[in-house]
Symmetry: C2
Subunit: 178 residues, 2 copies
Protein backbone atom coordinates (compact mmCIF):
# COMPACT_ATOMS: atom_id res chain seq x y z
CA UNK A 1 0.00 0.00 0.00
CA UNK A 2 2.69 2.43 1.06
CA UNK A 3 4.82 1.22 -1.83
CA UNK A 4 1.97 1.83 -4.26
CA UNK A 5 1.56 5.35 -2.92
CA UNK A 6 5.25 6.11 -3.29
CA UNK A 7 5.14 4.82 -6.83
CA UNK A 8 2.20 7.07 -7.70
CA UNK A 9 3.79 10.07 -5.97
CA UNK A 10 6.57 9.94 -8.52
CA UNK A 11 4.03 10.49 -11.24
CA UNK A 12 1.50 12.93 -9.80
CA UNK A 13 0.79 15.18 -6.78
CA UNK A 14 -0.74 13.67 -3.65
CA UNK A 15 -3.98 15.58 -3.92
CA UNK A 16 -4.78 14.08 -7.32
CA UNK A 17 -4.24 10.48 -6.25
CA UNK A 18 -7.58 8.77 -5.75
CA UNK A 19 -8.38 5.78 -3.60
CA UNK A 20 -9.47 3.82 -6.65
CA UNK A 21 -6.18 4.58 -8.36
CA UNK A 22 -4.15 3.56 -5.35
CA UNK A 23 -6.02 0.26 -5.08
CA UNK A 24 -5.46 -0.50 -8.74
CA UNK A 25 -1.75 0.17 -8.29
CA UNK A 26 -1.57 -2.08 -5.25
CA UNK A 27 -3.94 -4.65 -6.82
CA UNK A 28 -6.14 -4.82 -3.78
CA UNK A 29 -9.88 -4.42 -3.60
CA UNK A 30 -11.20 -0.97 -2.90
CA UNK A 31 -13.39 -2.39 -0.16
CA UNK A 32 -10.28 -3.70 1.56
CA UNK A 33 -8.82 -0.22 1.55
CA UNK A 34 -11.78 1.08 3.52
CA UNK A 35 -11.28 -1.67 6.10
CA UNK A 36 -7.90 -0.16 6.95
CA UNK A 37 -8.01 3.50 6.00
CA UNK A 38 -10.52 6.22 5.36
CA UNK A 39 -8.52 8.36 2.95
CA UNK A 40 -5.30 8.49 0.98
CA UNK A 41 -3.87 10.90 3.53
CA UNK A 42 -3.80 8.21 6.18
CA UNK A 43 -1.46 6.13 4.07
CA UNK A 44 0.80 9.12 3.54
CA UNK A 45 0.68 9.90 7.24
CA UNK A 46 2.00 6.43 8.00
CA UNK A 47 4.94 7.04 5.78
CA UNK A 48 5.55 10.41 7.36
CA UNK A 49 6.12 8.81 10.74
CA UNK A 50 9.53 7.68 9.54
CA UNK A 51 10.40 11.20 8.51
CA UNK A 52 9.12 12.76 11.70
CA UNK A 53 11.27 10.31 13.62
CA UNK A 54 14.31 11.55 11.74
CA UNK A 55 13.21 15.14 12.26
CA UNK A 56 13.16 14.57 15.99
CA UNK A 57 16.71 13.36 15.94
CA UNK A 58 17.84 16.21 13.72
CA UNK A 59 16.15 18.76 15.84
CA UNK A 60 17.41 17.67 19.20
CA UNK A 61 20.98 17.28 18.06
CA UNK A 62 22.04 20.88 18.80
CA UNK A 63 20.43 20.59 22.20
CA UNK A 64 22.59 17.61 23.04
CA UNK A 65 25.70 19.20 21.60
CA UNK A 66 25.27 22.39 23.59
CA UNK A 67 24.03 20.43 26.59
CA UNK A 68 20.80 22.40 26.43
CA UNK A 69 22.64 25.72 26.51
CA UNK A 70 21.33 26.90 23.21
CA UNK A 71 23.25 30.13 23.56
CA UNK A 72 26.41 28.22 22.69
CA UNK A 73 24.96 27.08 19.42
CA UNK A 74 27.35 26.91 16.52
CA UNK A 75 26.31 26.80 12.90
CA UNK A 76 27.55 23.31 12.24
CA UNK A 77 25.48 21.92 15.08
CA UNK A 78 22.22 22.67 13.37
CA UNK A 79 21.02 19.58 11.61
CA UNK A 80 17.39 20.42 10.95
CA UNK A 81 18.05 21.97 7.55
CA UNK A 82 20.06 18.93 6.52
CA UNK A 83 17.12 16.84 7.44
CA UNK A 84 14.61 18.92 5.48
CA UNK A 85 16.83 18.95 2.42
CA UNK A 86 17.26 15.21 2.63
CA UNK A 87 13.49 14.74 2.65
CA UNK A 88 12.88 17.66 0.35
CA UNK A 89 10.43 15.72 -1.81
CA UNK A 90 8.19 15.23 1.17
CA UNK A 91 8.44 18.75 2.49
CA UNK A 92 7.49 19.98 -0.94
CA UNK A 93 4.30 17.97 -0.58
CA UNK A 94 3.64 19.10 2.97
CA UNK A 95 4.02 22.80 2.14
CA UNK A 96 1.91 22.55 -0.99
CA UNK A 97 -1.06 24.93 -1.13
CA UNK A 98 -3.61 22.21 -1.75
CA UNK A 99 -2.52 19.94 1.09
CA UNK A 100 -4.55 19.99 4.34
CA UNK A 101 -3.14 21.69 7.42
CA UNK A 102 -2.83 18.36 9.26
CA UNK A 103 0.70 17.75 8.04
CA UNK A 104 1.80 21.22 8.99
CA UNK A 105 0.40 20.64 12.46
CA UNK A 106 2.27 17.35 12.63
CA UNK A 107 5.52 19.24 12.09
CA UNK A 108 4.42 21.97 14.43
CA UNK A 109 3.61 19.56 17.25
CA UNK A 110 6.83 17.66 16.79
CA UNK A 111 9.02 20.73 17.00
CA UNK A 112 6.84 22.24 19.67
CA UNK A 113 7.22 19.31 22.02
CA UNK A 114 10.99 19.63 21.74
CA UNK A 115 10.84 23.33 22.33
CA UNK A 116 8.70 22.70 25.37
CA UNK A 117 10.99 20.06 26.81
CA UNK A 118 14.08 22.12 26.31
CA UNK A 119 12.55 25.18 27.93
CA UNK A 120 10.66 23.54 30.77
CA UNK A 121 13.51 21.21 31.63
CA UNK A 122 16.10 23.93 31.89
CA UNK A 123 14.36 27.13 32.81
CA UNK A 124 11.96 27.87 35.59
CA UNK A 125 8.50 28.66 34.31
CA UNK A 126 6.50 31.54 35.69
CA UNK A 127 3.06 31.34 34.10
CA UNK A 128 2.42 28.21 32.10
CA UNK A 129 -0.19 29.73 29.79
CA UNK A 130 2.14 32.54 28.89
CA UNK A 131 4.76 29.90 28.19
CA UNK A 132 2.39 28.05 25.86
CA UNK A 133 2.14 31.13 23.70
CA UNK A 134 5.85 31.78 23.79
CA UNK A 135 6.61 28.22 22.75
CA UNK A 136 4.14 28.32 19.88
CA UNK A 137 5.54 31.67 18.82
CA UNK A 138 9.07 30.30 18.70
CA UNK A 139 8.06 27.02 17.10
CA UNK A 140 6.11 28.59 14.32
CA UNK A 141 8.88 31.10 13.75
CA UNK A 142 11.21 28.24 12.86
CA UNK A 143 8.58 26.84 10.53
CA UNK A 144 8.44 30.31 8.97
CA UNK A 145 12.03 29.83 7.88
CA UNK A 146 11.11 26.50 6.33
CA UNK A 147 8.19 28.10 4.48
CA UNK A 148 10.52 30.76 3.14
CA UNK A 149 13.02 28.10 2.12
CA UNK A 150 10.25 26.18 0.39
CA UNK A 151 9.29 29.29 -1.53
CA UNK A 152 12.86 29.78 -2.62
CA UNK A 153 12.66 26.28 -4.09
CA UNK A 154 15.14 25.00 -1.48
CA UNK A 155 17.81 26.89 -3.39
CA UNK A 156 19.35 28.64 -0.37
CA UNK A 157 22.29 26.66 0.94
CA UNK A 158 22.15 24.89 4.26
CA UNK A 159 25.18 26.81 5.50
CA UNK A 160 23.47 30.09 4.77
CA UNK A 161 20.29 29.00 6.54
CA UNK A 162 22.22 27.89 9.58
CA UNK A 163 23.87 31.27 9.66
CA UNK A 164 20.53 33.05 9.31
CA UNK A 165 19.04 31.04 12.14
CA UNK A 166 21.95 31.84 14.41
CA UNK A 167 21.72 35.50 13.55
CA UNK A 168 17.99 35.59 14.15
CA UNK A 169 18.27 33.69 17.41
CA UNK A 170 21.03 35.93 18.65
CA UNK A 171 19.04 39.09 17.91
CA UNK A 172 16.02 37.49 19.18
CA UNK A 173 16.41 35.06 22.00
CA UNK A 174 13.76 34.42 24.61
CA UNK A 175 16.19 32.28 26.51
CA UNK A 176 18.32 35.06 27.89
CA UNK A 177 15.52 36.13 30.12
CA UNK A 178 15.19 32.90 32.04
Amino acid sequence: MRLALLSLLKQKPLETITIAELCREATINRGTFYLHYKEVHEVFKEYLEVIVEDLKQSYEEPYYKTNYHIQNLEADMIKIFHHVKEYKDFYQIIFDERIPMMYYYLLFDTIRSFMKESIEGHFELDQSIQLDYLISYQTNAILGILIEWHRHGYATSIQELNQHLITILSINSPFEKY
Copy 2:
Protein backbone atom coordinates in the same frame (compact mmCIF):
# COMPACT_ATOMS: atom_id res chain seq x y z
CA MET B 1 -23.58 31.93 -4.44
CA ARG B 2 -21.67 33.43 -1.56
CA LEU B 3 -24.92 33.66 0.36
CA ALA B 4 -25.64 29.99 -0.30
CA LEU B 5 -22.19 29.08 1.00
CA LEU B 6 -22.65 31.10 4.16
CA SER B 7 -25.97 29.45 4.72
CA LEU B 8 -24.45 25.97 4.39
CA LEU B 9 -21.48 26.89 6.58
CA LYS B 10 -23.89 27.34 9.46
CA GLN B 11 -24.90 23.72 9.10
CA LYS B 12 -21.71 21.84 8.23
CA PRO B 13 -17.92 22.25 7.87
CA LEU B 14 -16.49 23.67 4.66
CA GLU B 15 -14.72 20.49 3.65
CA THR B 16 -17.97 18.52 3.58
CA ILE B 17 -19.82 20.99 1.37
CA THR B 18 -20.01 19.66 -2.18
CA ILE B 19 -20.42 21.61 -5.38
CA ALA B 20 -23.70 19.83 -6.10
CA GLU B 21 -25.00 20.78 -2.66
CA LEU B 22 -24.01 24.40 -3.08
CA CYS B 23 -25.75 24.59 -6.45
CA ARG B 24 -28.93 23.09 -5.06
CA GLU B 25 -28.87 25.66 -2.24
CA ALA B 26 -28.35 28.52 -4.69
CA THR B 27 -30.76 26.99 -7.23
CA ILE B 28 -28.33 27.34 -10.09
CA ASN B 29 -27.21 24.72 -12.53
CA ARG B 30 -24.06 22.80 -11.67
CA GLY B 31 -22.72 23.50 -15.13
CA THR B 32 -23.03 27.22 -14.45
CA PHE B 33 -20.91 26.80 -11.35
CA TYR B 34 -18.07 25.41 -13.42
CA LEU B 35 -18.26 28.42 -15.74
CA HIS B 36 -17.29 30.66 -12.82
CA TYR B 37 -15.39 28.52 -10.33
CA LYS B 38 -13.47 25.30 -10.19
CA GLU B 39 -14.07 24.39 -6.57
CA VAL B 40 -15.98 25.39 -3.47
CA HIS B 41 -12.81 26.92 -2.05
CA GLU B 42 -12.84 29.64 -4.67
CA VAL B 43 -16.21 30.85 -3.44
CA PHE B 44 -14.94 30.88 0.13
CA LYS B 45 -11.80 32.67 -0.95
CA GLU B 46 -13.92 35.47 -2.41
CA TYR B 47 -15.61 35.92 0.89
CA LEU B 48 -12.30 35.91 2.70
CA GLU B 49 -11.16 38.97 0.79
CA VAL B 50 -13.43 41.10 2.94
CA ILE B 51 -11.89 39.65 6.07
CA VAL B 52 -8.33 40.03 4.82
CA GLU B 53 -9.11 43.66 4.10
CA ASP B 54 -10.16 44.15 7.70
CA LEU B 55 -7.10 42.24 8.89
CA LYS B 56 -4.88 44.65 7.01
CA GLN B 57 -6.43 47.58 8.78
CA SER B 58 -6.22 45.87 12.17
CA TYR B 59 -2.65 44.90 11.66
CA GLU B 60 -1.31 48.24 10.55
CA GLU B 61 -3.06 50.18 13.25
CA PRO B 62 -0.26 49.90 15.84
CA TYR B 63 2.23 50.92 13.19
CA TYR B 64 0.34 54.12 12.57
CA LYS B 65 -0.15 54.76 16.26
CA THR B 66 3.53 54.36 17.07
CA ASN B 67 4.50 56.07 13.86
CA TYR B 68 6.35 52.92 12.85
CA HIS B 69 8.34 52.91 16.08
CA ILE B 70 7.11 49.58 17.21
CA GLN B 71 9.22 49.78 20.35
CA ASN B 72 6.68 52.24 21.72
CA LEU B 73 3.90 49.74 21.31
CA GLU B 74 1.28 49.73 24.05
CA ALA B 75 -1.12 46.90 24.72
CA ASP B 76 -4.22 48.83 23.75
CA MET B 77 -2.80 49.63 20.34
CA ILE B 78 -2.86 46.06 19.20
CA LYS B 79 -5.99 45.44 17.22
CA ILE B 80 -5.16 42.21 15.47
CA PHE B 81 -6.59 40.00 18.20
CA HIS B 82 -9.80 42.00 18.20
CA HIS B 83 -10.02 41.37 14.53
CA VAL B 84 -9.48 37.61 14.82
CA LYS B 85 -12.02 37.31 17.60
CA GLU B 86 -14.53 39.26 15.58
CA TYR B 87 -14.12 36.86 12.66
CA LYS B 88 -13.58 33.89 14.93
CA ASP B 89 -15.95 31.69 12.92
CA PHE B 90 -13.78 32.11 9.87
CA TYR B 91 -10.48 31.64 11.63
CA GLN B 92 -11.84 28.43 13.07
CA ILE B 93 -12.36 27.25 9.51
CA ILE B 94 -8.97 28.44 8.30
CA PHE B 95 -7.07 26.73 11.11
CA ASP B 96 -9.01 23.49 10.73
CA GLU B 97 -6.89 20.40 10.15
CA ARG B 98 -8.70 19.37 7.00
CA ILE B 99 -8.51 22.73 5.27
CA PRO B 100 -5.83 23.25 2.58
CA MET B 101 -2.78 25.37 3.34
CA MET B 102 -3.86 28.01 0.83
CA TYR B 103 -5.81 30.00 3.42
CA TYR B 104 -2.96 29.92 5.87
CA TYR B 105 -0.69 31.26 3.16
CA LEU B 106 -3.20 33.98 2.44
CA LEU B 107 -2.90 35.15 6.03
CA PHE B 108 0.83 34.66 5.97
CA ASP B 109 1.28 36.77 2.85
CA THR B 110 -0.97 39.51 4.13
CA ILE B 111 0.87 39.89 7.39
CA ARG B 112 4.21 39.35 5.71
CA SER B 113 3.74 42.21 3.30
CA PHE B 114 3.04 44.53 6.23
CA MET B 115 6.04 43.26 8.10
CA LYS B 116 8.13 43.87 5.02
CA GLU B 117 6.86 47.38 4.45
CA SER B 118 7.33 48.37 8.04
CA ILE B 119 10.88 47.05 8.14
CA GLU B 120 12.08 48.10 4.72
CA GLY B 121 10.53 51.51 4.98
CA HIS B 122 12.10 52.36 8.30
CA PHE B 123 15.29 50.37 8.60
CA GLU B 124 18.21 50.07 6.27
CA LEU B 125 18.50 46.61 4.81
CA ASP B 126 21.83 44.87 4.57
CA GLN B 127 21.24 41.63 2.71
CA SER B 128 17.82 41.27 1.20
CA ILE B 129 17.76 37.48 1.22
CA GLN B 130 18.64 37.40 4.88
CA LEU B 131 15.83 39.87 5.41
CA ASP B 132 13.38 37.59 3.61
CA TYR B 133 14.06 34.89 6.13
CA LEU B 134 13.84 37.24 9.08
CA ILE B 135 10.51 38.59 7.89
CA SER B 136 9.06 35.13 7.37
CA TYR B 137 10.38 34.13 10.76
CA GLN B 138 8.66 37.05 12.45
CA THR B 139 5.47 36.73 10.45
CA ASN B 140 5.00 33.08 11.14
CA ALA B 141 5.81 33.63 14.80
CA ILE B 142 2.76 35.87 15.06
CA LEU B 143 0.68 33.23 13.33
CA GLY B 144 2.02 30.80 15.92
CA ILE B 145 0.24 32.83 18.57
CA LEU B 146 -2.97 32.62 16.57
CA ILE B 147 -2.57 28.85 16.23
CA GLU B 148 -2.12 28.59 19.98
CA TRP B 149 -5.16 30.78 20.54
CA HIS B 150 -7.16 28.62 18.16
CA ARG B 151 -6.14 25.53 20.12
CA HIS B 152 -7.26 27.17 23.33
CA GLY B 153 -10.66 27.56 21.67
CA TYR B 154 -10.21 31.36 21.60
CA ALA B 155 -10.74 31.31 25.34
CA THR B 156 -7.73 33.45 26.25
CA SER B 157 -8.77 37.07 26.60
CA ILE B 158 -7.65 39.69 24.11
CA GLN B 159 -6.04 41.74 26.88
CA GLU B 160 -3.95 38.78 27.93
CA LEU B 161 -2.87 38.08 24.36
CA ASN B 162 -1.90 41.68 23.83
CA GLN B 163 0.21 41.50 26.96
CA HIS B 164 1.83 38.26 25.82
CA LEU B 165 2.68 39.73 22.47
CA ILE B 166 4.27 42.76 24.05
CA THR B 167 6.25 40.60 26.42
CA ILE B 168 7.44 38.34 23.64
CA LEU B 169 8.34 41.24 21.40
CA SER B 170 10.22 42.99 24.16
CA ILE B 171 12.27 39.90 24.99
CA ASN B 172 12.64 39.20 21.42
CA SER B 173 12.84 42.14 19.12
CA PRO B 174 14.73 42.12 15.84
CA PHE B 175 14.11 45.82 15.55
CA GLU B 176 16.56 46.95 18.18
CA LYS B 177 19.39 45.93 15.98
CA TYR B 178 18.58 48.27 13.14
